[in-house]
């Protein structure tokens, strides 16, 4: 065993706090494990909140309060809206996907350094570069020669 990362670590599941929903506790424990996993291996993960069983309104509120809001918020506006908020735990992001009318389509907790939806894609960047080049290209020389001279 030569590296610190070779030492196996078992994350103990914390007991729910008094009054805390066991669902919230389970999600938080899972987030903790996934965050540790990301730091150890770089493997990003996502929890789809729609698939979490028994996520009623009160439990949802408790979970949102428990994760709270961190330093970064961003919004993608592309007909649909995606609200991205880093929670109080860096690397744990809360993404809310809304359809055109504003209703929530799905909500996801992503465990990663930066959610993919925020990153620019090389294909889009190349297209953007071409547009920028066109915008900065010198205008074609104007043909100011009077009609009668050209004749």
């Amino acid at each position: 065993m030569t590296n610190l990362s070779d030492i196996p670590v078992l994350a103990e599941r914390a007991e729910p706090l008094p009054g805390e929903s066991p669902v919230v506790s389970a999600v938080l424990n899972q987030v903790m494990e996934l965050l540790a996993q990301f730091l150890a291996s770089g493997t990003a993960a996502a929890l789809d909140l729609k698939r979490v069983p028994r996520m009623d309104a009160a439990t949802y509120r408790q979970l949102k309060d428990a994760l709270s809001v961190g330093e970064v918020t961003a919004t993608v506006k592309a007909e649909v809206t995606v609200e991205i908020t880093e929670t109080q735990y860096p690397g744990v992001w809360w993404l809310t996907h809304r359809k055109e009318q504003g209703a929530i389509v799905t909500e996801v907790i992503e465990i990663t350094d930066l959610p993919v939806i925020l990153k620019s894609h090389a294909v889009d960047m190349r297209a953007g570069l071409r547009r920028l080049e066109q915008a900065l290209a010198p205008p074609p020389p104007r043909d100011d020669t009077p009609d009668r001279v050209r004749r």
Partner: protein, 368 residues
Amino acid sequence: MNTDLSNRVDQGSAQTEAGGAATFDEATATRLLALGISRRRFMSYCAGLASLLALPQAMVPRLAQAATSATLPSVVYMSFQECTGCLESMVNSFAFGGGTTIDNLILNMISLDYQETLMAAAGDQAEDLLLSLTAKTGYVLVVDGSIPADWDSGYFISGERSGVARFKAAAQKAGLIVAVGTCASFGGLPKANPNPTGAMSIGDLMKGLGITKPLVNVSGCPPIPEVITGVILYYLSKGMPQLDSLQRPTVFYGETVHDGCYRMSSFMEGPLAQAFDDSNSRKGKCLYQLGCKGIVTHNACASVRWNQGTSFPMMSGHGCIGCSEPDFWDRLNAKNQKGFYVPIATGSGHSRGLPCEVCHTDGDDYDD
């Protein structure tokens, strides 16, 4: 047209099954750019789709890849003893809603090459098309309606062939068979007592004919639109879904309607609604005593909902009629009675150990 479905499944970009959302591959991003669709908008759309299909968010790039693929799987949609309600449901789904570019893109995920109600061709022209399509291999055969088991009964003849003959010929080279609706999945209303036409489900007919192609039952009368298209999307992006004992995809049929019903809490704790529109019914109490079959009905009504996710029957104060289960029309309920408004016989309060007053504050004692 490339009909090799297996090629569509595993061309995927690098991402892990359990991982977070991965970025789109070069081809997908280029295709979206060419179509003028915002990559981020499409990524958000696919995130919602993955959630609907109970797929991990890591599947988002693969869904996008399937949706933007230039090769389209051929779908042959054949109708037998049915009412066209299932097709009506499907054409109203989010995928076929039309209007936006993304919807059209999803519509273009499949090549719906044969559907008698939707296509312009008729008569010999339609028959020739069917024969030419089913002469190829690997297409998806969607079947709507039950089929009279006796091929010469005369109850179903189309194109001078019996239903059995038409199905048998079409199934030979299919890559996947999808039985859409309860009639195709379990016999449905045509099979209801006394079953005058000898109607049979597609699964039973396949057994009788010795056809061993993969079969997915998408039951419901009709099925939820998003469930019909969702199953096709799932197959295109991930392959065969996990099925329950009745060949239904567990993604949509793994839980009962009761499991996700907002009225469920009063089922155990009471009080129950005793009459339609009584005070308990209005307060959102359980409709079990009014014949709701949600507790024994596996479907996604309470999670996916109907009309673009607006509601499901219990939200309108009506119980589930159990339409996605076999023989729902003839189900024997309490006191050996049939009927949508007769409480189910199994799972009664006494057998669940509930206090008497939960069920018997009022009205008939069906559980005795």
